[in-house]
Amino acid sequence: MIHLGEGSKSTIISKGISAGKSQNTYRGLVEIHRTADTARNFTQCDSLLVGQTCGAHTVPYIVSRNPSGKIEHEATTSRISEEQLFYCLQRGMSEEEAVSLIVNGFCKEVMKELPMEFAVEAQKLIGISLEGSVG
């Protein structure tokens, strides 16, 4: 995200999900140039780890050359806890259903920005990708 213009604003929300033996990396550049007076950026990178053999990595590059520009960056890592999984199982959901529900909850912020058709497809795709990833 390269800010050249005065007053430019950007928001980056990244949700990375790793399962199985996968490695997921967010690599992002946010740059505010001297000409970008009062530019604003907010970046949130969240990683969700499903299982114990995967990895999640965040490599942000944040460059600011204008004091009136404001950059904020946050990153968190979480997993699907055994308690959350059991709560859903006890309500009759299968493990796949439970993981799908929780993962979709994790991605909610991004999903709600998508047009409906894409969101539905994306949800299905997440379900297929995570098949067999738990246990």
Binding site: Y87, L89, Q90, R91, G92, N104
Partner: protein, 250 residues
């Protein structure tokens, strides 16, 4: 006809035996209370019955409607009609309340060979039940348990119970952390769900809840064993003499 039958049940957690041989039979329509001091194995019992990972059954059997469930997974037991109202319900960030409730209800309906709920109709059903428990529309829109107070979480558990219509409901210390007003609302909700075809195990530390949800039988659990059983007056006896008094007599 017994809905729940527990025979000589022994169970361990992390290799340590916590339940040393529980025997219990709950008939259709009955409400049994399980009382006991801290560390007696009350929560262990609820987790063992509901099939939580890490809780190992080392002996005995548990029958739901005449069928053994000890080999069944947690979700299989739930779909067969077993419900656990958690003492500390966990948060599910980003998971909308409606999606969660709908997914649970549909899982149960599919098991019973029935049709899944229609989305709009479901909202109406949920709202109706929610009203009984003083749960606002706003709360229904929030992600599951996120930012809920203790009382709100307990009411939300009972809402789920009302929607899932279990045959056997285990209420794990539903009264913990509740003030008198919240206790009344929750108890009212539970009492509305009493049914000749439904049984309940109410696990509690204090007698107070049992004044509102009056049990048919009371069992005292201590050191992983049921040391005494009786009718509702046993709860008052505990109130008077404490658990130590019961132990001495047992």
């Amino acid at each position: 006809m017994s809905i729940l039958e527990i025979k000589e049940l022994t169970a361990s957690v992390d290799g340590t035996e916590i339940l040393h041989g529980i025997n219990l039979s709950v008939n259709a329509g009955e409400v049994h209370a399980i009382m006991g001091p801290n560390g007696s194995g009350k929560s262990t019992l609820s987790y063992v019955l509901s099939g939580r990972a890490g809780y190992e059954i080392t002996g005995g059997d548990v029958l739901l409607n005449g069928t053994s469930i000890i080999e069944a997974e947690a979700d299989e037991r739930a779909r067969a009609g077993l419900f656990l109202a958690f003492q500390y319900p966990v948060e599910l960030p980003g998971v909308s309340g409606m999606s969660f409730l709908r997914a649970s209800v549909n899982a149960r309906l599919r098991e019973q060979g029935k049709e899944e709920v229609d989305q709009l109709g479901f909202v109406k059903i949920v709202r109706a039940e929610a009203q009984n428990l003083g749960i606002s529309d706003d709360m229904l829109k929030r992600p599951v348990n996120v930012g809920f107070s203790g009382g709100e979480k307990k009411r939300y558990e009972i809402l789920q119970m009302a929607l899932l219509k279990p045959v056997m409901a285990i209420l794990d210390e539903t009264d913990s952390g509740l003030d008198v007003d919240a206790l009344k609302i929750v108890s009212q909700g539970v009492n509305l769900l009493r049914d000749p075809q439904r049984s309940m195990l109410v696990i509690t530390h204090y007698q107070r809840l049992l004044s509102y949800i009056v049990p048919d039988k009371v069992h005292i659990l201590s050191g992983g064993l049921i040391v005494k059983s009786g009718d509702k007056s046993l709860a008052l006896e505990v109130e008077e003499n404490g658990y130590a008094g019961i132990n001495d007599a047992a």
